[in-house]
Amino acid sequence: MKNKQSSVDDFLDLSSLLTGFDKVDLQGTGLAEIYRKEVLGIIGAQITTEIEKAGTAIYRKYRNREKLMEEAVRTEILSHAVLGPLAKNITSMWYLGVWNQMPQAWLDHVGIKQTAPSHVISADAYKESLVWRVVGSHPPGAKQPGYGTWSLPPKTR
């Protein structure tokens, strides 16, 4: 059942814009729902819904039109006092599997008194952190590519 207000699918739309990965890749990590819950738990439903709505609107309107999309993300999300820092944190969460504590100025601005400190979200979050895919490697200690693979040329990506 799809919740019209906000859903994992909206979160994936937003995440696809921010990470530069297709939704199918993000879905394949198995972490979309977990990450969304993390954001909801730390930031609350109101701002989370707001950023998801902004993201999904841009995604639907401009997907495959890279330039317009970038423009819209910068205008409506990244330069937005509330949504901008959160968007950066969501991007970083996908790339590193780490939730960074929100900056104090932002917390003051939105009126959050106590917040989660920086932490690795889970072992799976570490293993699925996107940075390793981007650079053609694997998370150290997981998804090992096999004996001697390091001696071969890096794969084209």
């Binding site: 952190s129 053609g136 200690g141």
Partner: protein, 573 residues
Amino acid sequence: MKEDNYDVVIVGAGIAGAILAKELTEKKKRVLLLEAGKASDDYLSYLEVFYTALAKVPNSPYPNNPNAPSQNVLNLGPIPAGAPNLNGYMVQYGPVPFGSDYTRVSGGTTMHWLGHSFRMLPNDFKLHSKYGHGVDWPISYDDLKPFYEKSEWEIGVSADVEDQIYPGMGNNFFGKNYYYPMKSLPASYLDQKVAGGINGMKVKLGKNAYPLSVITTPQGRNSTPNKGYKPIGASWDNNIGQRCEGNSNCVPICPVQAKYNALKTLNKADQKYLTVINQAVASNLIIDPETNRIKGVTYKQYQSAQSSDHTSHTVQGKIFVIAAHAVETAKLLLASSAANSSDLVGRCLMDHPTMLTWGLMPEDIGSYRGPGATSHIPTFRDGAFRKEHSAFIVPVDNWGWLWGEFSPGSDVTRAINQLNLFGKKLRGYLDGFVSRQFGLQFEFEQLPQHANRVTIDPNYLDQLGNYRPVVHYDISDYTRAAMEAAKGVSDMIFAKLGVEDYTELQPRRYRLSPMERGQAIHSRAQGIWSALIAWERTNQIRSLTKTRNHGITKTCTSSDRAACRLLELPILR
């Protein structure tokens, strides 16, 4: 005292203790092994802890145990004059922070060592007569050679003898028919690029020019076995880890135990003759005043790391082996007023001071793949320059800027927060930037300096009431001069390879800020994985057989009244 009277009581279940336990029980000696830390019987739980650790430093997978504390590199920091840094387990007086850590858990620091297994060179043993620095050893390379062979076969070192060409190695460095137990691990793609670029290049140091070479690094990591050797896999399932699987995570933890750790040796001991007591911290050696021999060890046994509740016990034995790591061994001897009429116990503390240089290669070199380093430059391990400054070895880093810049985590954070990148441009930027990251490590010899020492102070105790190590440590001008020379070498190598230099040779950021910790997806801080290379002379207590945390052991008795120097080999990283 307990009824039990063991043939040999060993303190410390690291590599030295494990090898002794194995060899002695094979000879049907009744051995008691006391380990301060916890048993490593749930290795996979270490891995889970590692995955979720924010700062993936060498000790991050292993239990934080206030009853047998370990130094954590995150506690390093600048030391104000006159006041020690008390943040970590070590009480650091400096002036330079001692940057290495060790692990107090069964298996010891081999749990997080990198696995590099170098032999020392013949001239290392006669530094004073040859180059006018340091001291000559009372033994030579040839004396140690058979023990190197033995420990390489125990550890399971992968290397090809014909590749191993070092300066000043002489004609018979390896025995005539000697071969390593396993073939060399393949050199990384980036090693090949570096070797292709700089092999044979001449670099001037002082009056002489030295031709560079890049060769594969002998390492305790499973590859293809040679005749007569069977690789040993994971301690929980021998079918796992029969070969390195390219986890790129030797430090802090190999997920499949393709890398050697002392648990493998411990498992080979004849369990009929071996008693192991974990969570038993040796706190005092009992010395018979008449014979001047050790007759017992007192240890404190605890049930839980969370509580300081413990019971004290004493065990007896014929021979006692203190194999508790260079720092812990010195601490125990000092706490027991043992073996120290020379005032040399704990002195001449050594590390391997490291300088990193890093930059961007002109093309994708496939960084962050494979074991930490698969090749090194041996050129500066020996030569006439040792009259002016210390020798150094140069591992070619497979892990990019991980150590220097906490990359790629810090690159991601910078790209998002400072460069304001997102989406496909963020991907493109990271791809182009991270996969070209290249780094060299310069690791320097330290000479024995009396003032560099481990000592104890009743004002500084851990929660069980045992001494914390109090450390005084500095880096001499002889070693500092080598760092300057090495930066020159790095500059020339970077120029030849077309590397864009990003090195910032500033005092290290010893302590990670909370933000940096967030970025430190897989960080190594300063000097982290090394064990110590300490050098002591002790000759008073006849029954004291003392070893270090490595494959080589040497027995020291008072029958030889001349100073008996105990050596730690091969260099453990």
